[in-house]
């Protein structure tokens, strides 16, 4: 299997962010969200790679913890959304009939309903009392539908293959067929779905945090921007406070996107159709 350029670049970016945000905090014993740790508004220097902000926080270290927390939330939630979409999509596609219809109505509704307004209500209700666990749970509720839809359409076409009949006549039951015969085909897609889901989760949490409806006390890629906007970073010329998370978000998202499309391309070529 030959990796294409997209996948290589994507994995490089992801490795950079993941390793950087997991390893660097081991060499730091200052809580980055603690205010007044350093002098305010220090310029970029060897001690403060991105300077400090008006709250006396080191922007570089705040950013490192933000990337770490966002990635943890993204990966954690995506494990569940991917599992749910695999189970629902595979079973709906293989079993068909009424079961399929009900699952699909639910899936299409969750896709068609604008999730953000509902997240805003939930964010407003739990504001202050929320924790990352509840936030993750809410994101799972809205995150599984796209994946389930795709997995289901794949299962639907695989069901028609001859080897499924062979397996059934050899005495396999539904669960065995779904996991032993159909699942291996869908697995490559699930990796893609998993990465896309990480993108969705980080993006949604950040969007909520930017308007102050997530747990903004925990550094994430959204809450860093929330505080920068809250203290008028642009107005007072503290550009680094807002430019640094913007650049980090764009590069991280590009890495996720390149990995998912690159991986998809590689498997499409291996299956024999580009």
């Amino acid at each position: 299997m030959k990796m294409n350029f997209r996948l290589k670049l994507g994995i490089f970016i992801l490795a950079f962010f993941t390793l950087g945000s997991l390893i660097l905090p081991l060499f730091n014993d200052v809580d980055p969200s603690q205010q007044g740790t350093y002098f305010k508004n220090l310029p970029i220097s060897g001690d403060h790679l991105l300077g400090t902000n008006t709250q006396g926080q080191d922007i570089f270290w705040y950013l490192v913890y933000s990337v770490r927390n966002s990635l943890i939330l993204g990966v954690g939630v995506s494990i569940f959304t991917t599992l749910i979409s695999a189970v629902l999509g595979l079973s709906a596609g293989y079993i068909g009939g009424w079961y399929d219809r009900i699952i699909m109505i639910l899936t299409d509704s969750v896709i068609a309903i604008p999730s953000f307004p509902i997240l805003i209500v939930l964010g407003t209700l739990v504001r202050g009392n929320t924790n990352f666990f509840i936030l993750g749970l809410i994101l799972v509720i809205f995150g599984w539908a796209w994946g389930a839809r795709t997995v289901r359409s794949m299962a639907l076409s695989i069901r028609e293959h001859e080897f499924i009949n062979t397996s059934r006549f050899s005495g396999s039951n539904t669960v065995e067929i779904i996991f032993q015969e159909i699942f291996p085909y869908v697995f490559a897609y699930m990796v893609v779905g998993f990465i896309n889901s990480i993108l969705f989760v980080i993006n949604t949490e950040a969007a909520l945090a930017v308007i102050g409806l997530s747990k903004v006390e925990i550094p994430t890629l959204g809450s860093i921007i929330f505080w920068a906007l809250n203290y008028n970073a642009m107005f007072i010329g503290q550009y680094m406070w807002i430019v640094a998370p913007v650049v980090a978000t764009v590069v991280l998202f590009l890495g996720l996107f390149l990995t998912s499309t690159g991986y998809n391309q590689m498997f499409a070529t291996r299956r024999g159709h580009a």
Partner: protein, 333 residues
């Protein structure tokens, strides 16, 4: 008969989406561990220095439960809620500016959201698809590669980042556009229309750019696949000019999945529009939600959310109903 069946199934799906959406909006907040009324009472007690007596608190609790529609069993509440939303379209009075009805606020804000979103969606869909078509059709040229890179970079950037970058570039560093929206009051004049365009430019640009990546990449893949089809080879051998092949053969066939995808993506685009409105203080539904959150006005918040679900579902339904006009296979099935 195919067409009628198609329309009936679409309208059916529309009603189901509305129903599921309204139901989720009803139940999810009630499953949350926090009770807004208890929170509010606790806050009032703190402000009053714990001096309120229990009878007053109980009275307050009852009257607030009535105001929020929280009386009776959960089934009663649900039936009452569905009745109010679907039959009388009544979301109750605004709690922050009592007794002005919520629907009045919503109908002032709705045209702004629809205007901004509609314009941006059409512009980004048309231009994005044409760019994608050219990139897919001439996929060997250097321009096509550049256009695709542009699409790949633009696609994963979230709305709030695009909005912030545009604000940073065109309202701070090179201040040619306003920071937040201020629109002249009064009747429609040329001056007012100018101010609307001037103030809407950056929010609209955000939505257009955000839609670009997806349109370019989707259309590029489709036109690339379609140009290898037999009927295209036949047209080429027949001597059809390459521009005609591109627009009448490849584009005509590639556009159909893009329309279906547009209907499915409207929910996501709408989410982005709400966020963009909040960041630009644009007077649409998004800002109204923001105001409602700030003032703890739950009736207004619920009204805007139901309205969002209704507008998104309706927009998707309209696209679905326009679809048979473009796809003869459904009309003559």
């Amino acid at each position: 008969m195919g067409l009628i069946q198609y329309i009936v199934s679409r309208v059916g799906a529309y009603l189901i989406v509305l129903f599921v959406g309204v139901t989720i909006t009803f139940f999810l907040p009630r499953l949350m561990p926090s009770d807004p009324i208890e929170g509010y009472i606790a806050q009032m007690q703190n402000q009053a220095g714990q001096s309120m007596n229990p009878e007053t608190i109980e009275e307050l609790r009852t009257s607030m439960r009535k105001l929020y529609g929280l009386e009776g069993s959960i089934v009663d509440q649900y039936v009452d809620y569905i009745k109010r939303v679907f039959i009388s379209f009544d979301f109750g009075p605004s709690l922050a500016s009592y007794p002005k009805p919520v629907s009045e606020f919503i109908f002032t804000a709705l045209p702004w959201t629809l205007g901004l979103l509609g314009t941006a969606l059409v512009v980004s869909w048309l231009i994005g698809n044409i760019i994608g078509l050219v990139a897919g059709f001439y996929h060997n040229s250097r321009w096509a590669t550049l256009l695709e890179i542009f699409g790949v970079i633009l696609y994963p950037i979230p709305y709030y980042i695009l909005a912030l970058v545009l604000i940073l570039l065109f309202a701070y560093i090179w201040p040619i556009f306003p920071l937040s929206t201020t629109i002249l009051p009064g009747p429609i004049t040329w001056e007012k229309i100018n101010s609307i365009i001037y103030n809407s430019f950056l929010p609209a640009l955000t939505l257009v750019l955000a839609g670009f990546g997806w349109n370019i990449l989707g259309m590029k893949a489709l036109s690339f696949a379609n140009k290898e089809e037999g009927y295209v080879t036949f047209a080429r051998l027949k001597g059809t000019p390459s521009r005609t092949i591109m627009f009448s053969y490849v584009f005509r066939n590639s556009i159909l999945p893009q329309i279906t995808a547009l209907a499915l993506s409207i929910g996501g685009v709408f989410n982005g529009a709400l966020l963009t409105e909040i960041l630009f203080s644009y007077p649409g539904l998004g800002l109204l939600m923001r105001t409602a959150i700030g003032s703890g006005d739950f009736n207004l918040l619920y009204g805007t959310i139901i309205m969002s679900i209704v507008s998104v579902a309706t927009a998707a339904l309209i696209i679905d109903l326009v679809y048979p006009l473009l796809d003869p296979r459904i009309r003559f099935r």
